[in-house]
Structure formats: C-alpha cells, structure tokens
C-alpha cells in the first residue's frame, strides 16, 4: 500500500503539473480539494483520466468521485480494492 501511495503521489504531481510540489510535500491523508493541494474541477477530470489510463479504472458513478478522490490514500484504497476483485 505504501509503495502504491508513493507512486500515486508522483503520478498526480506529473499529471496535474504541480511543479513546485514534491512527493514529500503531499500528506497521503490530506484532502486533495479545497484545502490541501487546492485542486480545481479540471484537476478532478485529470484524476479520472489518470485512473483510467494508468490503472484501467473507470468511474461509472460521478457521485463516487468525491469519496475516491478525497485523498491520495482513498485513491490507493480504491485501486487496491479494484485489483483484488
């Protein structure tokens, strides 16, 4: 799980062009939107693309997005759960 979290941090930084942020700056449990990294709605769409492109995961119900993209850890939980299924 910790390896996946570190990998996800790097992927998020690259996908969202977070130039001045390093993986160490991101708390796995901090909210990605609002406070925390302060991501916006376009970033949310980019995260959906990231999950599909890198992990083959499609979010069918938009309502799930709020829970899945709460933090890096919730994203990792979702990927792990999918890979187990």
């Amino acid at each position: 799980m910790e390896d996946l979290i570190e990998k996800l941090k790097k992927e998020v930084i690259e996908q969202l062009n977070l130039e001045d942020i390093s993986a160490e700056d991101i708390d796995a449990d901090s909210p990605l939107f609002g406070e925390g990294l302060g991501l916006d709605s376009i970033d949310a769409l980019e995260l959906i693309v990231l999950l599909e492109k890198n992990y083959g995961l499609k979010i069918e119900d938009p309502k799930d997005g709020k829970k899945i993209f709460h933090s890096i850890r919730t994203m990792a939980d979702y990927i792990t759960e999918y890979q187990r299924a």
Binding site: L16, N17, L18, E19, D20, I42, D43, E46, V49, K53
Partner: protein, 215 residues
C-alpha cells in the same frame, strides 16, 4: 481625446524587454518551456496556476505581468480596462497537443486540462483573472501583425467610451516560434512625469509598427 502607450513589453528572439529595456535574455534554450520557466521563477509571483497554462497563455501572462509592473492598476476602474489581443496561430499549438492525445484509438485519453486551452481567448481569461480586469475584450486573428486592425478596434473602444484604458497587442506562439508585444493604452495626460515608471508614446498604428519591428 488622444491616447498614449504608457507601458509595453516585448518577448522575442530569446529576449524579454519592458519599455524598451532588456529584462532577461537566454540564448541557450531549446524549447519555449525552457525559456519561460526560469524567468517566471525569477519573477517570484507565487502563482502556481501558471504551470497549468498552455504555452500561449504562459507567453501572454508573462508579457502582461511585465506591463502591469509599470502600471499601478489599482488606480483604474478594472471594470473599464479592456484587453484586445491578436495573433496568427490562434490556439493551434494547443490544438495539436490535444490532437496527439486522441490520434491513437487504443490510447484515447484526451486531457481535460489541455482541451480547455483550445481557444486563444482563454489566454485573455488568464490575464483577466490575474489582474481582475473586467472590461471589454476581444481576440483577433490575422495572418501577420496588423497594427491598423488593432489600432482601429482599440480606438473604437475609446471613441465610444467603452474603456478607460486597454491592454492590446500581439501574442503568437506555435511550437518553438513565439513573439509577444503588449501595450498599455490610455488617454494622454498632461503630467506623465508624475508616474516615472511609465512612458508616453502617442498611440497610432505607426507607433505599433515601430515597436513591433524593434522587438
């Protein structure tokens, strides 16, 4: 009432100038990103949104930033500061970037953050957000720098009292070819010496041509 150019910035051929003075030069860059990123960091703006912009918006954003370092925009009614820009390549650079994400049907992952920049007037939006400008705006496309087209458009805005001041000029970028000339235009005042950061050049198509040629 006549208008004057009171500040201007120029970016072309590896150099960035403000009011005619060289601000930054780099002869060793290969890509536009390599050229503009160190200068953005040098400005120390604390504006991370810059990194998410497409190259055209980055070029216009920096050119505008330099103009507004010479103008105290707080002294103006931002609802009446217009912005009229033009170029030849529209948003083609980003259109091509978007095309590359959808060329391969088996790797069909269009990027939302690229797609949102597939219009040149998004650059105007980025400048307006940064400087809180809410006046008239327009984006014109012409095959080459057309000073008369820009002059006539901006002059009409002043003649019809639609703006108190206007940022205007040329911001063009396609792959590694880029150039920008931005001018701040406002009614000619009788006491320009009270604002030492400003210049005072009578606003005309000829003046724009002269500045464009020496960019």
């Amino acid at each position: 009432m006549s208008q004057s150019i009171t500040a201007y910035s120029q970016i072309r051929s590896s150099c960035i100038k403000v009011n005619g003075s060289i601000e930054y030069c780099d002869e060793n860059f290969i890509t536009f990103a390599e050229f503009i990123k160190p200068f953005f960091k040098h400005l120390n703006l604390g504006y991370p949104k810059f990194y998410k912009m497409d190259p055209l918006s980055k070029l216009g954003f920096i050119a505008a930033e330099l103009v507004f370092r010479k103008i105290n925009i707080a002294l103006y009614d931002r609802n009446r500061v217009g912005i009229v820009l033009a170029n030849a390549s529209s948003s083609l650079d980003t259109d091509l970037a978007h095309q590359r994400t959808i060329d391969n049907r088996s790797q069909y992952f269009p990027s939302p953050s690229v797609f949102v920049y597939t219009l040149p007037n998004i650059m105007i939006g980025e400048i307006c957000i940064r400087h809180q400008l809410k006046g008239e705006n327009g984006f014109l496309i012409s095959e080459k720098f057309d000073s008369l087209l820009l002059f006539n458009y901006v002059n009409e805005l002043f003649q019809h009292h639609r703006v108190d001041a206007c940022l205007t000029g040329w911001v063009d970028l396609l792959q590694e070819r880029f150039e920008a000339l931005l001018l701040f235009v406002e009614p000619t005042t009788k006491a320009p010496a009270e604002e030492p950061l400003k210049v005072s050049i009578p606003f005309s198509a000829e003046a724009m041509d002269t500045l464009y040629k020496i960019t």
